[in-house]
């Protein structure tokens, strides 16, 4: 099973009852698979901080709980996590964080191990799906034994690789009794001081545990070369070096053992540390006075692979045939029929500055729309726009923020409250495609459906904006370019904060009916339709043609063609 599916199976087998997460590649499927188990209450929270606090509450009430996220999500959840380290747990708390070395689908390449060190909580790192399952179960035992939240660190290749797992039955663990304990759960200074002492003592105990834990294992093959490694990096090392070297495979990456590492190092002439991203194990070894080779060979950037390890350690080169011509890159693009395209087209032709956000619509930055000017983190479009407009009030008539419905729920609302409260002349466009798109169609609080598929309350974005003090709120259909363009023009001109909700469901949603593909007859070669950046329209010998497999008949190209050349296949006007 997929690594993420195996974590979910581990939650099931460990008797977990409450799961709360916010989707984020490559972590999303843990929570989706959890929802398939009737015994687990699983939900999408509006953001990772909420999810962490839900898990905390569930633990205090006595249940085993879980929250999951991608690496940058942990920045959002860091606030509750760092103090949860002090309170400890009642029912076990485990969280999973999925790093993305190589940034397949992320805005940075941060190494989550720093959070474990800073929050002083134990972190386990599985290397394949079987370990995802077994480590998750062990994590609950450790959580309750040591009175601490436990982090499972994943990475793209562990989360999104399938390998074999052995399944067991669920252990049904009754809730622990709820006992009011102010000294443990109310973190005001007097109590927190006491708990900090506990945290430091706990770290010492965990370090002792790490010395002998079966999660850290040694494989002795050679006295010449030893490799200290963990997670996916272990898989690459084992593939490249096989049984020619000895391994210390660390399943616990925080706290790191001392004696175990010193003993291993003493048995090998030369020690390599092979770890992805930062040199955390390496620095630890160096602090212990061990001479190791690591980041000087492998660097701090991107994913490792068996090729890199074989090349750096064995000097091996790979024999392969290369295609000798230039191969055009194929960056991701907004899908044919994507409702975001209409908005970005209007912004692009009017040369509007765009404070962007995280989601499919980040692709509005790519050519030919080239519309987005900034992308930082979840919600930053709205707050950032306010900052831009305060620094440059004249620019406010040509600057907007764009944010998706799910990202708006996650952390856009607080930025909009700030705009209303501190009054900047800002125009925010909510790209409401009625789903969390980029991570693969997860429901969110504005869609009216929950993770289990049940109909539920839906946040009304218009009412919400009005309630927080935005007077100008209007809804447009982004397939209607004229309407969208007019709304942008008028709201930018208005001397007060405003919100435009560009509403149309994602074209990939199953319930969205596609129209028949359009055709281009008698193309004049003006290339206006190519400015939409639609993957279904290409240029063949100076004439635009539509790929009938990709086209969903959205029709925005018919609005930009000045010659009326784009029509239905039967000749009718779209």
């Amino acid at each position: 099973m997929l690594g993420n599916e195996a974590v979910a199976r581990g939650l099931y087998e460990a008797g977990v009852t409450v799961v709360s997460s916010y989707p984020g590649t490559p972590s999303t499927e843990i929570t989706e698979f959890s929802a398939n188990y009737d015994e687990i209450y699983a939900e999408w929270a509006p953001n990772e901080k909420v999810a962490a606090e839900v898990a905390f509450g569930a633990s205090v009430a006595g249940g085993r709980s879980f929250f999951g996220m991608k690496h940058v999500g942990l920045n959002v959840a860091a606030d509750p996590l760092y103090t949860m380290s002090y309170t400890g747990v009642n029912g076990g708390i485990v969280m999973a964080v999925a790093d993305d070395p190589g940034m397949h689908s992320s805005q940075n390449e941060q190494d989550s191990r720093h959070h474990a060190i800073a929050a002083k909580v134990p972190m386990l790192e599985p290397s394949d799906s079987a370990e995802c399952l077994s480590f998750t179960k062990t994590a609950y035992e450790l959580s309750e034994q040591f009175d601490t939240p436990v982090i499972i660190r994943l990475s793209t290749r562990v989360s999104h690789s399938q390998s074999l797992c052995e399944l067991s039955d669920r252990v049904n663990i009754p809730n622990k009794p709820y006992i009011k304990n102010v000294a443990k759960y109310v973190m005001m200074p007097a109590m927190a001081k006491g708990r900090h002492v506990f945290v430091e003592e706990r770290t010492n105990k965990l370090r002792e545990y790490a010395e002998t834990s079966p999660l850290n294992c040694t494989i002795y093959n050679s006295t010449k070369v030893g490799v200290i490694t963990s997670g996916a990096a272990y898989c690459y090392a084992a593939e490249a070096l096989g049984n020619t070297v000895s391994y210390l495979k660390l399943g616990i990456v925080n706290p790191l053992p001392e004696k175990l590492i010193l003993d291993f190092a003493a048995k090998c002439d030369k020690i390599y540390v092979i770890e992805e991203l930062d040199g955390i194990i390496e620095e630890h070894c160096k602090a212990l006075g061990i001479k190791v080779i690591g980041k000087e060979l492998f660097g701090l950037i991107g994913e490792l692979s068996q090729e890199i390890i074989a090349e750096k350690i064995l000097g091996k080169t790979f024999d392969s045939v290369n295609f000798t011509e230039d191969i055009p890159v194929r960056p991701p693009v907004m899908c044919a029929g994507c409702p975001h395209r209409g908005v970005f087209y209007c912004l692009s032709i009017n040369k509007i500055r765009v404070s962007g956000d995280i989601g499919c619509y980040t692709l509005g930055a790519s050519a030919p729309l080239s519309s987005v000017d900034t992308t930082l983190c979840m919600g930053a479009s709205v707050s950032g726009l306010h900052g831009m407009n305060k620094a440059d009030p004249e620019g406010s008539s040509k600057t907007v923020a764009v944010i998706g419905d799910s990202t708006f729920m996650h952390s856009g609302i607080t930025g909009l409250v700030n705009i209303a409260y501190n009054q900047s002349n800002s125009t925010v466009i909510v790209l409401d495609n009625s789903i969390t798109g980029m991570t693969g169609h997860q429901q969110n609080p504005s869609t009216g459906v929950n993770l289990k598929g049940d109909v539920t309350a839906a946040v009304n974005i218009e009412s919400l904006c009005k309630a927080i003090g935005i007077k100008r709120v209007r809804v447009v259909d982004p397939y209607n370019l004229k309407e969208t363009d007019l709304a942008i023009f008028e709201e930018l001109a208005a001397p007060e904060p405003s919100v435009i909700i560009a509403r149309r469901p994602c074209a990939l949603l199953k319930y969205v009916k596609h129209k028949p593909a359009l055709v281009i007859n008698d193309c004049k070669g003006c290339k206006m339709c190519l400015k939409l950046g639609c993957p279904a329209i290409s240029n063949k010998d100076g004439k635009a043609v539509i790929d009938s497999v990709q086209c969903v008949g959205c029709g925005i190209c018919t609005e930009v063609c000045r010659f009326g050349c784009i029509n239905k296949a039967d000749g009718g006007v779209n």
Binding site: T25, S105, A232, D319, D326, T362
Partner: protein, 194 residues
């Protein structure tokens, strides 16, 4: 020995489903298997790669889930440009299966780059064992353009050691019931095209 199959294409072409069908079929053979996928942004019409690695015998352990340059025994390319992009991952003596379909990437659509001509002939002239199939046309013949992934599995089936029954069983498990017949037809059209 560990064997490696790489599946490359354009996001949305169904490469993920193909890799899962291949991976699941191999698991049933009782050998160690790892399938690696990438989700998220690259799925939006970008260049996508999935890896299937498996042991030839039950004694072979698969460690790494990824395939590097010069390591793939077989590459299945769903699109010509992607075949060119990843040909360097093929091992010496490896085999490439390519769908003749072409999909212009955005730099070509916007006129900033040219789509290389005669890709298949050029790969062949570099000494690569390449089999080209119009998988899209065969898929349409089977009933849906979306079944080109299963057509290509049919092509793979004509070279690999697994029985047709084993493949069909996996297809039945991996596709929604109402599309099983269509996909079976696609599988056989692919297999018989060789």
């Amino acid at each position: 020995m560990v064997k490696s199959i790489m599946i490359v294409g354009v996001g949305g072409q169904g490469t993920l489903l193909a890799s899962r069908i291949i991976g699941n079929a191999l698991i049933k053979k009782g050998v160690d298997v790892k399938v690696s996928e990438v989700h998220g942004m690259s799925q939006r019409g970008g260049s996508v790669v999935t890896y299937v690695r498996f042991g030839e015998t039950s004694a072979d352990k698969v460690y790494s889930p990824v395939i590097n340059r010069g390591e793939a025994d077989i590459i299945i390319a769903f699109e010509q440009l992607e075949a060119a992009r990843y040909v360097s991952f093929l091992k010496k003596g490896g085999k490439m299966i390519v769908s003749t379909q072409t999909i212009d990437p955005m730099p070509v659509i916007t006129g900033n780059a040219a789509y290389p001509a005669d890709i298949i002939a050029k790969i062949k002239s570099a000494g690569i064992d390449i089999t080209a199939v119009d998988a899209l046309e065969l898929a349409v013949k089977a009933g849906s353009a979306k079944a080109s992934n299963v057509v290509l599995i049919g092509v793979l089936a004509s070279f690999a050691v697994m029985s047709d029954e084993a493949w069909i069983e996996e297809i039945e498990e991996c596709v929604p019931p109402k599309f099983v017949e269509l996909n079976k037809k696609a599988f056989y059209l692919g297999k018989e095209s060789i």
